[in-house]
Each structure stands twice: as structure tokens, then as C-alpha cells.
Symmetry: C2
DNA sequence: CGCGAGCTTGATGCCGATCAATGCATGTGG
DNA sequence: CCACATGCATTGATCGGCATCAAGCTCGCG
């Protein structure tokens, strides 16, 4: 289990103001440094020796600001870098040839994006910011070469990719065999757990995504998501006011996920 | 697109007879060698320089025979190695705390298994042989250390993992937004394409898995799978006799996958 | 203040689950 | 070698959960 971290302070305002457009920012000017990042216990540097971390610092060449609604990368784009979410919130989605698309994940601070692009040297999905966000840019060629020198970094990279595979197994289980209530319960538990690991309250949260995006992720229509929220509220499990949620009975959520009425 | 390879010859009988139990076999006695394996164009060695491949040969320490129905590894087991399927056919499945389980993939010759275990040092799903099979054992520690020396191998390993992530995105799309006929059509197209890459006919195939296993993978009940097969047969798209299939109208299958009646 | 994106809630219908029975192949022991 | 068991597949009848269609509602914002 990752070490909990106190709620991160807001970035200093001077830094946030640059976000009016997608702007690459030179590392030197901002002193980007994993070693001093408040996300270092959650992000790629987990478990690295101080020496290794210095080298990783050197690799993080820039940050990039992405405004709400803008794409960090899109399907078809050449793959160059992974991205670590520093602040903000993203969704990734794949699109079928026809209009349909599927949200494949939501990423918050400290989580990595872009693994989909390694296999074909092109991205195969879109990453979209759900609020004004900042990412650290990790040029993949450099990351590979660095991880050839530092076994700990190599291992960490492999672990992160492996966990992404395992997470998707969980989503497949959810999509393949759970009913609407179970899906939403599983989703909420996952969300609160990740927020808790970042020092936020596990009982009070603000959704960053619409009902439609939740529905796409869970294989449900937005009306079903909405109705299920209402039902949880009627049952006293949740307090719902728009995107503001309060978990009243976490045990009930857990029980739902493990029930087998299907 | 991978180079097609002629249908692989059956293993020599002396070698197959050892499969009465799960038996580790010393490499030396069997001359295991990626460089002479007829799967080298499909497996981990893709694109390696001859020198690198010799080193990979040295790493493949043994083969392991797994009889139909036996597990190659199970959830909870310590993670030590990846496995490359040499002959045979596997499924991987995750289990929820209650009885439910979900088939997360089917693996055939040249495909790699075991990535689920890297993240937590323990396997998180079961790998079960669907027919008598053989795998090459790739001790992961050695694979990492080798891929620190050889950039091509490192890159190849990352690509394989990335493609696994992308494949799962596709399954999520399928589970989240397709109807039964589309799911089965997508499944069949994927299967025939992979068989074709291995030099088999893309129109005539024998399923190695039951209707129930297909259903679990596709998020359907076995009756629905069976009915959908029957419908495809009535429509002249498929000829179905038990597990023996013949694709009569591949275009119809493709059209189904891209249709959007949902 | 009024517009529009997002959310809620109701009425209805359909796809696939469920329950149930039968068919078909393989294998095993009498 | 047949009788029977067993596992898997097919097919039918019915049911239910979620999608769909259709109104309103809420709230943030120009």
C-alpha cells in the first residue's frame, strides 16, 4: 500500500497562469524535480535510490499544461513520451471506426499515461484533460536508456505497466459479469481508495467526470448511472448532489461488489 | 504484419511423451533455442540481432509441459518467470471473491504469458492449458538483466507489454459497447487473424475452448454464444459443427463489427 | 436573465439471462 | 461391445435489467 501523503498544496499561482494554452515549459526555468515532488511516493520514483532519482530528474525535460477538454495526445499521433500527471485529472478513451467510444481509464496525480503507444510507435487512444492539468513529460527513449543503467527504475517501470494490465483485468471482470449497482460501487470504491492514498478524504469527493463518462467506463448508459446514484442515495449509502458525493456506508458498497446475484 | 510461417510440424514423439506430468526439462538436453525456433518471428525474439538472440537462447532455461486442464500458474503464486507458448493453447482468467470468474485472454503459440505477476511479485490470475501444451520458461530477473544490456530486447519486451494493454482496451470496448453478434464476430476475426499469422487457414478452424469459456471472455452466457453461432450458420456466414468452424463470409463478420445499431 | 450542458425521472421495449429439456460425442467399466 | 455416465452443445419459453425515448429540472455562465 502506498504511503499516504498530506493533501497537496495548490501550485503557486504564477505557475498556473501559463495554462491558457498547451505550453511546453523548460525544466530549468521551473526546477522540475522528482526528488522534490510531493508525488514521489506515488509516481515512477517509488523506491528509487537518491542517486537514481537525480538521474530521473535530469530526464524529465519539461512540463506541459493541458486545459480542460484538450487532448494530451490523440490516437494516431507518433509516440514519443510517457506522461506523469502532476496536477489535474484525465480520461483515456478508445474509439471504434463507427462513432462509438469507450473510456478506458481515469488518471489522477502521480499516475502515468501513454503506455498504449509503445507497441506500434503510435498512440492508440486519446488522453483528454477533465480539468486544467499539468503533466511531466518523460521522453521514452531516454527513459529506456536510463532504465538500462538503473535496475530499480527498470523494475519500477515494469511494475507500473504490469499493474495497468492487472487493472484492466479488473475492468474486464466488471464489464463482463457485474450488474449496474455492482459496477458503480466498484468504481466508487476504487476512486475513494486512490483519493485516500493522495491524502484526501475517502468519504467526501467531487467527481471530475460526467455521468456519461462514468457510464462509458462502466459499460452503462448515463441514465442508468444517474438512476443508480439515486438508488444509492435512497438506500442511505451515498449522499449525491450533482458531482459532490459523500459516502455514508462504505461497508454497503463493499458488500455490493462481493455479492453474487448474477 | 508478422511474417506468415508454414504450419508447424508436430513435436517429435519422444519429446511429447514426457507430458504425463508437469515436468521441467533441462535446456541442454533438448537444445531449446530461440534462434532455431519456428516461432521466432512471432515471439519475443522478433527483430533481435543474431548476437542478442544467442543471449536470449542462454536465458531460456527450460521448457515445461502442461497437460490439458492443468494450470501453468495460479493466482497468488510467487512470480518468477514469464512463459512463451511453444505449442498448445491457454486461457487466462481472473476470479472474484465470490465464485464468478472472467476469462481475460486466450494465448496461442508464440504468445507470452505472466505479465500480471510483475506488479505485485505474485500472479493475479490463473493460466490454464486448454490442450496439452509446452511453454518456454523465461526467468524474469534474467530477462530484465539481459534487456539492460540489449536495447533491442528491452524495446521488444516493452512492445509486447504495451500491445497487451492495447488488446485489453479492445476487449473493454467490446464488453462495454457491443452487442452479442458483434462480440462474437470480433472474437472470430481476431482468432482467424492470429491463426493466419501462424500459417493456418483463416477460413477453417477448430475451437480449443468451450462455449462457456468464449462466453466468459465475451461477457455472454454460453446459451447466447451457442444461439449466435446458430444464427451465423442460418445466415450463411459460418458453418458450425461443434468446435469445427468454417468461415463462409468473412466480409459479413467485418461488417458486423463495424455496424452501430447499439 | 436566459441559455445550454448536464442531470434526473418516468414509460416502454428489447436483448440477453435464466430455466429447462433434449441432443450429441466421448469415454469407461461391466 | 454395449450401457451408461459425463461433459458439452443446442433449442425453446419466459423473465428481468438495462437501453431507449421523452420530459422536465438544476446550475453555471455569458
Amino acid at each position: 500500500m502506498p504511503t499516504p501523503i498530506p493533501a497537496e498544496p495548490l501550485d503557486d499561482p504564477a505557475e498556473r497562469r501559463v495554462s491558457s494554452k498547451v505550453v511546453p515549459i523548460r525544466a530549468a526555468t521551473l526546477k522540475v524535480a522528482c526528488s522534490s515532488c510531493n508525488l514521489r511516493e506515488l509516481c515512477l520514483p517509488v523506491g528509487l535510490a537518491p542517486n537514481d532519482m537525480d538521474r530521473l530528474d535530469a530526464l524529465v525535460e519539461s512540463r506541459r499544461a493541458v486545459k480542460r477538454g484538450e487532448v494530451l495526445y490523440g490516437a494516431g499521433e507518433a509516440f514519443r513520451s510517457l506522461y506523469a500527471v502532476r496536477t489535474g485529472f484525465f480520461k483515456t478513451r478508445v474509439a471504434a471506426e463507427d462513432g462509438r467510444d469507450q473510456v478506458t481509464g481515469f488518471q489522477m496525480a502521480g499516475e502515468l499515461l501513454g503506455f498504449d503507444g509503445i507497441g506500434s510507435e503510435r498512440h492508440t487512444c486519446d488522453a483528454v484533460a477533465l480539468e486544467d492539468s499539468q503533466v511531466c513529460v518523460l521522453p521514452f527513449g531516454q527513459l529506456e536508456s536510463l532504465s538500462r543503467q538503473f535496475g530499480d527504475l527498470q523494475r519500477q517501470l515494469h511494475k507500473v505497466m504490469s499493474r495497468e494490465i492487472v487493472r484492466e483485468h479488473g475492468v474486464m471482470l466488471l464489464l463482463g459479469s457485474m450488474r449496474a449497482e455492482e459496477r458503480l460501487a466498484a468504481f466508487l470504491l476504487n476512486l475513494t481508495q486512490r483519493l485516500q492514498a493522495r491524502g484526501f478524504s475517502p468519504t467526501s469527493l467531487v467527481l471530475r467526470m460526467t455521468r456519461e463518462e462514468i457510464g462509458s467506463y462502466l459499460g452503462l448508459k448515463l441514465e442508468t448511472v444517474s438512476r443508480t446514484f439515486s438508488k444509492f442515495q435512497d438506500d442511505g449509502v451515498l449522499e449525491v448532489r450533482q458531482r459532490q458525493l459523500r459516502v455514508l456506508d462504505e461497508a454497503a458498497l463493499r458488500q455490493l461488489v462481493n455479492s453474487t446475484p448474477c
